[in-house]
Each structure stands twice: as C-alpha cells, then as structure tokens.
C-alpha cells in the first residue's frame, strides 16, 4: 500500500469536464449571437434612416445621407456602446474578485464617480473636452484612481468586510458626486456637454471616440485576462491564496489598477453608465462559473450585450416618446435605462442571496 496512486487517463480527463466545456461554449455562442443582435438593433434604431436603407448601405449602396448616418453616426455609436459595456463588465468582475466582495462595482467603489469628477473637472477647467478625448481619458483615469484611493483610505481596517466596504464606497461615491455637482455649478457654461457624463450616453459618439476607446480597452482586457488565474485564487481568501503561492498584495494592486483603467476608458467616452459594472459580474459568475478564465470573457460579452441592447432600446424608446409627446427631438440616455434595469436586477440578486442564507 505504498507508492503514489496510479495516474490513469480517465482520471486526468473525467467525462464531467467535457460536459462543462460544451455548456460554456454553448453559452458563449448564444451571447455572441445576442451581441450581433444588439449591434444590429443599434444600427437599425433611430429615425433618419429606415431599416431597408440601412441594409442597402451595408451592402455598399444607398444615398449619401443614408451612408453618412449609418457609417459615420450609427456604426461608431453602436461599436462604442459594445466596447464600453464590455469594459465595464470586465472592470466589475475584476473588482469583485479583487475585493472579494459581491457588492463591489466601479459605481460603488468610488471609481466611476471619481472618473466622472476627473472628466468634468478637466472639461470645466478647459483642459479637456469632446474635442480632445485623450485628455478626457487621462483625467478620468486620474479621477478613478483618486476615487479608489479615497475609498482605500476611508475604509482603513474595514476593507476586508464586504458590507462595510460597500457602505464606505457609497459614502465616497456620494462625496465625489457632490464635488462633481459643485464643479458643474461653478462652471455652468459647460453643463450642456458634460451632463451626459453623469447619466451615461452614447449620443453623438463618432469614430474618434472609437479609435480612442478600443485600443485602450483591448490592452486592459488583456491585462485582466492575465490576472484571471491570480484573481480566481484570490477569491478563495488571502491566507489560502498566499499559501498556494500568490503575492496577494501585488495581485490586488494590479487588479485595482486594471479595473480603474477599464472603467476610466469607458467613462471618458460614454459617461457613468449605472449598474453595468455592478451587475454584469453576478450574471457572469452565474453563467460561467467561479473560474475567471471563463467568467471574464463572459462578462465582456454580457457587458457589451447589455449596453449595446440598452442603447438600441433607448433610441427606440426616444422615438416612441417623441411621437407620443409630439416633440421634435427627444433622447433617452442609455445610462438611465441601464440604471433602472440594473437596480431592478440587483434587487432580485439581493433577494435571492437573502433566501439562501
């Protein structure tokens, strides 16, 4: 009865594992289809061009006005919505894993409000604006880092307690939002252009924004992917993780930086889309399991589908509302939709968790 147990091939690759993989792949595929549907809906939504004309433009024809609307306005807008949503979804998963806190999300850890404050302040000071998107990203990054840093300081020794960290996060977020309001009041001339940051909007996003957003998002998405294994381990608890060989302090710091960068990129382009980063992780973990190597791509897809779909829905809603109210132009910001839908879903999650305990 001595010597190691024999290593059989069946032991190495049990049958259950293949079933799990098949299920994952099927879910990715379904989400991929949903992504295409959301992108398609984004292209079709809107008033100026009818769906049939959109198809014509996409197949290479169409009149110049239709071409301009579809290729210069709708396409970049839809793409920006997808990538921003994906970034927020990734940021949420990274944050929840790093802080081991299901109540964490960029919105409630000071990251999003900090990024908004940074962007608004820079715009108010005339350092940045819609015409200088790179400066906005830089300002949003600084603001996001400052927001996260502020939470770190305020939470102090209570960082380990999810509920208390969330309470501190709400406090910090409230203070940062208040500061944003102050900036807006002091520099009211900028109000019109920056108010979109507060709710989140994809209105008027063009190729310049896309060109800025996607490389940034791609780089940080890769960084998040590289952190997948350490973050999965970190969720098992700091002591267990460091006993298994992880430098927990380093991993957590890298994860926070990555989450801030992803959030700041999204916020600087589409503003503070409420609840996406808080909610998508719950869906991602539920659909793709606790291993971040599976959950991260899932979260990116989910975030993209949620924001892309919400954007298309917001545009359709705007059209209906404009007709009903008989106003010429009305636009429902996508952030208003994600916030409402997200709050409702979060309530469901909270209730379900409550039932389990």
């Amino acid at each position: 009865m001595t010597g190691p147990a024999p290593l059989t091939r069946e032991g190495a690759r049990p049958a259950g594992r293949t079933a799990v993989r098949v299920r994952l792949v099927r879910r990715y595929a379904l989400l991929g289809l949903a992504l295409l549907a959301a992108a398609g809906a984004g292209l079709l939504a809107g008033r100026a061009v009818a769906p049939a004309d959109v198809w014509e433009v996409l197949s290479g024809g169409g009149d110049p006005i239709a071409r301009h609307v579809v290729l210069q306005l709708r396409l970049p807008r839809a793409l920006v919505a997808l990538v921003a949503g994906g970034s927020l979804g990734l940021a949420g998963v990274v944050l929840q894993a790093a802080l081991r806190n299901p109540l964490a999300g960029p919105e409630v850890t000071g990251v999003t409000p900090g990024a908004v404050l940074g962007a608004v302040t820079a715009t108010g000071l005339g350092l940045a604006g819609w015409r200088s998107p790179a400066a906005v990203v830089a300002a949003a990054c600084l603001g996001g880092l400052a927001g996260a840093g502020l939470l770190w300081l305020v939470a102090g020794r209570e960082k380990g307690d999810p509920a208390r960290l969330a309470v501190h996060g709400v406090l910090v977020s409230a203070v940062l939002s208040g500061l944003t309001a102050v900036v807006l009041l002091v520099a009211p001339g900028e109000l019109g252009s920056v108010v979109q940051w507060l709710v989140g909007s994809t209105e008027g996003r063009v190729w310049a924004h896309w060109r800025l957003l996607w490389p940034w998002a791609a780089v940080w998405a890769l960084a998040a992917w590289a952190l997948a294994a350490p973050l999965t381990l970190l969720r098992c608890g700091d002591e267990q993780a460091s006993a298994a060989g992880l430098r927990t302090d380093r991993a957590r710091l890298a994860a926070l930086g990555c989450a801030v960068a992803l959030t700041a990129g999204a916020v600087s382009v589409v503003g503070a889309l409420g609840f996406v980063g808080l909610l998508v992780p719950h869906l991602a973990f539920a659909l793709f399991g606790a291993d971040l190597r599976a959950a991260l791509p899932g979260a990116a897809l989910l975030g993209a589908v949620v924001v892309g779909g919400a954007d298309a829905a917001a545009q359709s809603l705007s059209r209906v509302a404009a007709r009903v109210l008989e106003v010429d132009r009305l636009s429902v910001p996508v952030g208003a939709l994600t916030t409402c839908a997200g709050a409702a879903l979060l309530l469901l999650v909270a209730r379900r968790r409550g039932d389990q305990e």
Binding site: P4, L7, E239, A241, A243, A244, G245, L246, F285, D291
Partner: protein, 288 residues
C-alpha cells in the same frame, strides 16, 4: 552530494526552525523556538490558544518572516525563497477559508496548482493528473463537479485538504484540520492524513487541539507555552499529568490505551493560573 530539489536536508531533516523569534511591536509571540522535523515524520503541535502554534505554522510556510532566527526547508533558508517557490515545497491548510460562491470542487483543487504553473497561469497537462490524484487521495473523486459551498463541513475540509495536496509538496502543514468537525469526520481527516503520510512519504506538522488525536496519531508531540517549546518528544514520554498542568493549566490523569498502548488523557479541572509553574514540567524527565 547534490540534493534533490525539495528534498530533505542533512540527516533526513526536512524542516528546521532555528532559534526563531517573532513578534509585533509590544507583543512577542515566539521566542527562541527550536524545532526539527525529519522527512516522513508526523509531528503534532499542541498548546493553549494564543501560545503561538498557528504563528509558528505560518512561519514554517514562509507566510511570515521571523524577526530573529531562521526557518530551513530541506536545508534552504525559507526567507530566501519567493512566495511561489516556497509554495512548491510546502503547503499549508488553514483552519478555515471563505467558500467562493459557485466554485466547483475541481476548480478549488486546481487552485493548489497555482505555484506550479507558468507565468501566464496556463495549466499544464500534468496538472490535471496531480489534481485528480489529490481528489482520489482524500476520497472525493466523484464530486469533482459539485459546488464547494453545497458541501458539509467535513466534506469541505477534505476538499481543502485536496487543494493543499495538489500543491504536490513534500511538506504539509495543517492548522487545526479537525476543528468544527464531529467525531466521525475528525477521525476521517486524521486517518486520511496518516494514510497520506504513509503512501506519499509526506512530512507533516499539524496543530491539534485534541490531545487525544495527537497522542494517538503523531510520531512526536511538540508543546508550546508562551511562545517557547515546553516539551518535545514521542507521545508516550510527553503526555503526562505534568504536561496537562504545565502546558494546558489543567489537572488530570493520564492512562494508557488498553489495546494500543498510547497515552490517553483524563483531564479533570482547570488549575488556578498562579499554581501553574515551571516546576510541574521540570519534575517530569521529558523536557526538551
């Protein structure tokens, strides 16, 4: 003579704690601790709450750095190994850990392979085999796809033991692995550890609260008191009324198991603290 990587040091010594002190400002936890564990030995660490047992275990895993002295793992100074390198040579099972919602048994056990992986965290082929063997070793191979948070306390502890085994180290440190478990599950865990020690030739250092388990299953018992080693030797020599009084502050008797011959404790009542003096230990001839 060249030594095998992760192998034992001189004279089969796997783990050596040499004059280790550890403390925080204002509180010295350990002071001049000497301890040596041979390859393949099963050593139980006993003592009152707060005597420094768990701290000593963390020092042996390299999770804490001693403020004085050094911990040698197979002859190498643990302080010189990176976190990852240390985790390839010594595994530590903590008393408890948060359960990750939805994480399956297989996923948790695979976390034990973290240190063995490449920088990008890709699992290698051999990793699957090591994990499967770890699951089989603790008798949970059939549950690989069950979520850990749906398991009972005893089942969860075995799965966590499998995660530590998946690190595939020669040295295994266990911090009160039987706490929170009922009698049956305590014995299951203890028997599993004993069997693994036999089958894999593991070197085991475990903190135990149950002196009965220590006396029954350990090759050697090391008792700590106030951050110092108070007794060190085989159960038959160490487990005495003097140990009960001197280390645990308890009056009681010690008998022998009629079948196996190992010592059995009959603790009776706690002693007033001032009567617990060095003399109780010094009078017995088993002192370190």
């Amino acid at each position: 003579m060249p030594r095998e990587f992760g192998g034992a040091g001189p004279a089969g010594e796997m783990l050596r704690v040499a004059g280790v002190g550890f403390g925080y400002p204002g509180r010295q936890v350990l002071d001049g601790v000497e301890l040596s564990v041979r390859a393949g030995e099963l050593v139980a660490l006993v003592g009152l709450n707060g005597c420094g047992k768990s701290t000593l275990l963390r020092l042996c895993a390299g999770l804490l750095r001693p403020t004085s002295g050094q911990v040698l793992l197979g002859g190498d100074d643990l302080a010189r190994l990176s976190r990852r390198a240390a985790a390839r040579r010594v595994a530590l099972l903590h008393q408890s850990a948060p359960a990750v919602p939805g994480m399956t048994v297989r996923q948790l056990v695979r976390q034990g392979r973290y240190a063995a992986r490449g920088p990008l965290g890709m699992l290698r082929d051999g990793d699957d085999a090591v994990c499967a063997r770890a699951l089989a070793d603790v008798g949970v191979a059939g549950w690989a796809d069950r979520p850990v948070d749906a398991l009972s306390g005893g089942e969860r502890q075995r799965v966590r033991l499998a995660m530590a085994l998946a690190q595939d180290t020669r040295v295994l440190l266990l911090d009160e692995p039987t706490t929170y478990l009922d009698l049956r599950h305590q014995l299951e865990v203890m028997r599993t550890v004993v069997r693994l020690r036999e089958e894999r030739g593991l070197t085991v250092l475990m903190v135990l609260h149950d002196l009965g388990h220590a006396a029954r299953f350990a090759d050697r018992i090391v008792a700590l008191r106030d951050g110092r080693v108070a007794a060190d030797g085989p159960p038959g020599r160490v487990v005495t009324p003097g140990l009960l009084a001197g280390v645990f502050g308890v009056a009681g008797r010690v008998g022998l198991d009629p079948e196996g011959g190992w010592p059995v404790c009959y603790p009776d009542h706690p002693l007033p603290f001032e009567t617990v003096v060095e003399r109780d230990l010094q009078n017995e001839n088993h002192i370190h």
